[in-house]
Symmetry: C2
DNA sequence: CACAATAAATCGAACGTTCATTCTAATTAG
DNA sequence: CTAATTAGAATGAACGTTCGATTTATTGTG
């Protein structure tokens, strides 16, 4: 997750993520980060400009990591349908494998604590863009109904986010079957159907 | 929104909501609340136990209001399909008519700042419960595929939340047509179909 | 290789500010 | 007059950040 950082930075970022999920940004003091990461406050300020800087760096790192992870999935698919399924599978994977990163992004992507220029990355650079293009293509090829592709992507993303959130909070257990079913239901939801219903 | 409170309390709650959306809880000081609400800190502490208490009271008030609003929609429907459409329409209505309340709940429903006992209300008392029952009924009557109804409700809710979030952030404009289409697509997503596809 | 000279990294105590909360005096209402 | 309410200065704790001292790493020199 933090491959591009040095040992100290990584320790600080990992610790900060940990504490923020356990507590909250406001309750995450520099003293606590220093204590739990084993790096003194002085050193932390040698590598980061401020507390805000740490949190924004953390945000950037996680978004980049997540983006790469999903993009890889999208690339593996051959057909549109396959790309669709592999892409969204990866989104759910992320939530299950890296729940802290997932929760952090979820909780703070709309917080004023994250700089706007950093937030932009969520909606552009990352995986939204390739996913948007996939949906555009699916509309052109008459797989999907002609709705705003960006809206469809947002809707489907939200669907998976809440599926994961509820699982994280113990509302139910997500089996791989129900995940597959959920992804399929998303496809069905926006599928352009040329069918005759025989009752 | 705050009918059950007196004038002072209402002013404090409204102001607090305003500031929290503009800034953030940590940047929402009592001094600022006092200044903008026109109530001195002394008086605020006469009506509320603490800052936490204000925020939690705010949370409770909004959740209750939202719950009632959606429940009303659900009651108006005659058939399952109608209840489904009217219920979700109200959810979207809430996001458009009371964006601050919507954003606040979205941003803090998973924050440790809100007491667990208060949070429980989100998943139980409010509108989730009636909506869950509606989905259960829809499964029994073979309208919906036999997935976990709670999961389906969460998924659909997430879909609308993200649709609204993206609109709030100016990604696109939500027309009433596209909202109707989105609700319909949710129904299609989990519909149990007994059809033959003729190509 | 030895050893000095310089730079980089680390530390934690101290600083100054901010902020939630308290307290007391003043004001209002019944 | 009495009791409730309001006001805002005072309090004290918490916190982000700075700074100078100390240690560790790197480079230069004979």
């Amino acid at each position: 997750m933090f491959e591009t950082y040095n040992k100290v930075q990584r320790s600080v970022l990992e610790t900060t993520l940990n504490i923020i999920i356990r507590k909250e940004i406001q309750a995450t003091s520099m003293a606590l980060i220093a204590k739990e990461s084993g790096v003194s406050t002085g050193s932390i300020y040698h590598y980061f400009q401020s507390k805000e800087d740490i949190v924004n760096e953390l945000y950037k790192a996680i978004v980049t990591f997540n983006g790469e992870y999903v993009r890889e999935g999208l690339l593996q698919g051959r057909t549109i349908r396959e790309k669709f399924e592999l892409g969204w599978s990866r989104v759910i994977d992320l939530g299950k494998k890296y729940p802290q990163g997932f929760q952090f992004i979820e909780q703070y992507s709309f917080s004023p604590y994250i700089y706007d220029e950093v937030k932009q990355a969520v909606y552009t650079g990352v995986w939204c863009e390739p996913m948007n293009r996939l949906y555009e293509e699916a509309i052109q090829q008459k797989f999907f109904i002609p709705l705003n592709p960006k809206m469809m992507v947002q809707m489907h993303y939200g669907q998976f986010v809440y599926m994961l959130k509820a699982e994280l909070h113990g509302i139910y257990e997500l089996t791989s079957d129900s995940v597959q079913e959920a992804i399929r239901s998303c496809w069905n939801a926006v599928q352009l159907m040329d069918v005759t219903v025989i009752e």
